[in-house]
């Protein structure tokens, strides 16, 4: 009988312990895979999330908050700035394109964003819509791909928005009946659905910028925008525009790439903490393997004595236990990689809808090579201790009580 068959029979004989060990390794590996997928998704989303708009101008406050709300549709805006700022920025020589954005309302959790339709060709080039056309008049909306899928609305459908941002529904309570009635009476008509853009725009509802002024009854002189997305002609141009508008009262101009880099650094710190927690999980999984094989060592001491008595070599003995540890690790690793990616695939849509982080469930990461190598190395280290103890067992041990 070859060593593999003995190894297999031994694993089957103590299948509960074997399965538990595989489970511990699989859970750890799958969590690692999910963490990597999330980190990759966030980094990719952050890197692609602002297109050619190197500058963003908004109300004074947190730079990260302004960028998060403008490009990633997350969190609250820093406030509003007068419409005149947009007019002034648009006339700057150093500016290639500038688009005002109004925000503040939502429909079933998806933000309603007021934006010039010319934003789309500048940001995404010439793309065909999935359905219908881009909005053009007050009250017309074009939905992002994920928002349309999640809401189940079609071209021609109508709905009313609600005041407040996602996660800030409590603000609605503070507004009076008049405000609520205004939202209820303002009907949006769906005229199109955007193609999948793989950015936060997929989960937004776009309409003309003047919707906010219409809904909230703003007079000509009191009109405001939430942010201005600026595509400068050059980096030098970006610098001069930033310096100029930073000096305006209650206005800030932010380098988008710098704010995104700050955000990524924050995420990196978070993922380092998570990695520390995961490392503890890895040590627990390795301990589980070590305990399982140590129990096997004590259970099989007599068996090994017998094998030595009937002439099986020490290397045969060593390889059966080392092989068992490696097979358990490899099985857990394979299951973990599969489950991790499957879980990533399963949660990608709801996660994107909820947070804007887009996971590519079955995208392989270079880091998985390290996960595989590390898991196998740890499996070998955990197996080697009991395996070497068994290696030292001689035929006499069969007769010792």
């Amino acid at each position: 009988m070859n060593g593999w068959k003995l190894l297999w029979r031994n694993m089957l004989y103590r299948k509960s312990l074997s399965l538990l060990t595989i489970f511990a390794v699989a859970v750890t590996v799958s969590l690692f895979v999910l963490l990597l997928l999330c980190k990759d998704g966030f980094e990719r989303g952050a890197a692609n999330g602002y297109g050619p708009f190197e500058l963003v101008i908004g109300a004074e406050g947190s730079e990260s908050q302004l960028v998060l709300n403008t490009f990633y549709r997350a969190g609250a805006p820093t406030g509003n700035i007068p419409l005149e700022v947009l007019q002034a920025v648009s006339e700057e020589n150093q500016v290639d394109a500038a688009f005002g954005m109004t925000a503040g309302d939502h429909y079933n959790g998806f933000p309603i964003v007021g934006m010039d339709p010319a934003y789309f060709p500048v940001r995404y080039g010439d793309r065909h819509l999935k359905e219908g056309r881009l909005y053009g008049q007050l009250g017309e909306v074009t939905l992002g791909y994920a928002a349309a899928q999640s809401l189940g609305v079609r071209v021609g459908d109508q709905f009313s928005g609600a005041h407040g941002l996602i996660g800030h529904h409590e603000l609605e309570e503070e507004h009076g009946d008049h405000e609520e009635d205004a939202h209820e009476s303002f009907k949006y008509t769906v005229v199109g659905v955007l193609p999948k853009l793989n950015t936060a725009d997929d989960r937004a509802i776009f309409t003309t910028m003047d919707y906010a002024w219409a809904v909230h009854d703003h007079q000509q002189g009191a009109r405001e925008v939430t942010a201005i997305l600026v595509k400068p002609k050059s980096l030098l141009g970006a610098q001069s525009v930033k310096q100029k508008y930073d000096q305006w009262d209650r206005v800030q101009a932010v380098y988008t790439s710098k704010a995104v880099a700050d955000l990524l650094n924050m995420v990196d710190t978070g993922s380092q903490i998570l990695t520390l927690v995961m490392t503890i999980c890895v040590l627990l999984a390795a301990s589980s393997l070590l305990l399982s094989l140590t129990a096997a060592f004590h259970e099989r001491k007599k068996d090994i004595g017998l094998l030595r008595l009937i002439g099986k070599s020490k290397s045969y003995i060593l390889l059966t236990l080392l092989g068992e540890g490696m097979v358990l690790t490899a099985a857990g690793l394979a299951a973990g990689l599969l489950v991790g990616h499957a879980a990533g695939w399963l949660i990608s849509e709801p996660l994107f809808t909820a947070t804007g982080i887009q996971l590519e469930g079955f995208r392989l990461s270079a880091n998985e090579v390290y996960i595989t190598a590390s898991a196998l190395a740890l499996g070998a280290i955990a197996s080697i201790i009991p395996a070497v103890r068994l290696y030292r067992v001689d035929a006499q041990s069969l007769f010792r009580s």
Partner: protein, 235 residues
């Protein structure tokens, strides 16, 4: 088959070396079936393990199956044992994760092709009355059946010498008798030499030849037992 001259074996116990076995001369001819008798602690199992190459010889000469076992290192004794000895134990020592057939297959040499091996296994299991239990795990077999599997494992390669250490020690009296008879019959049919250690006089009487360990162990000849012998043997 076995030839012993001036053989000595000591153990270290609690920091002291105790002489356990001192045999001036003893021999066993090929094909003999001998029951080695003696009380617990008289050194009969130690003698068996020396002959089987499990324990190293301290002093003297031991020849088994034409090989000089005394003087062999551990690896040489392992190779000698695998080629020449079939072992049967009081506690059977079947591997619990393997079926009866797989336990025997662990030692099976001989024909390489699967069909011939299967034929050989079936034939041996039929001879011990376990043709229907070949694929049972040891836990699914009675103690008597487990010992019969162990007998098949010891005999299937037809090693020239079978060593049995209290083979009926874990069985009830009646089952023990049946198992001992089966072992004797199979060894006779195969022409194998059998040396079995037992303290059960009834089972020993089934053997053509019985040898009390006191007949050969000089330490037991001049006093009233091992306790005295061990004391005198202290170095």
């Amino acid at each position: 088959m076995i030839r012993i001259e001036q053989l000595e074996k000591s153990y270290r116990l609690q920091g002291q070396t105790k002489l356990i076995l001192q045999i001036p001369y003893w021999s066993v001819a090929e094909g003999e079936r001998i029951a080695l008798l003696g009380p617990s602690g008289s050194g009969k199992s130690t003698l068996l393990h020396l002959i089987g190459g499990v324990l190293p010889v301290d002093r003297g000469e031991l020849q088994v199956c034409g090989s000089k076992v005394s003087g062999m290192n551990e690896a040489e004794r392992d190779a000698f044992r695998a080629a020449n000895i079939g072992y049967i134990f009081q506690d059977f020592h079947l591997i619990p994760a393997l079926t009866a057939r797989q336990n025997v297959e662990m030692v099976l040499g001989g024909p390489a092709d699967r069909r011939s091996r299967m034929q050989q296994l079936k034939e041996w299991f039929s001879r011990v009355g376990l043709a229907e239990q070949m694929d049972h795990l040891p836990s699914q077999l009675s103690r008597g059946q487990q010992q019969r599997v162990a007998i098949v494992r010891a005999l299937i390669n037809r090693p020239p010498l079978i060593l049995a250490d209290e083979p009926t020690g874990s069985l009830d009296w009646e089952t023990g008798g049946l198992v001992m008879k089966l072992l004797l019959d199979l060894c006779e049919q195969e022409g194998l030499t059998l040396l079995a250690v037992t303290h059960d006089l009834y089972h020993a009487r089934l053997f053509p030849k019985t040898v009390p360990i006191s007949d050969m162990n000089r330490l037991l000849q001049s006093a009233d037992g091992l306790a005295v012998a061990a004391g005198r043997g202290e170095r």
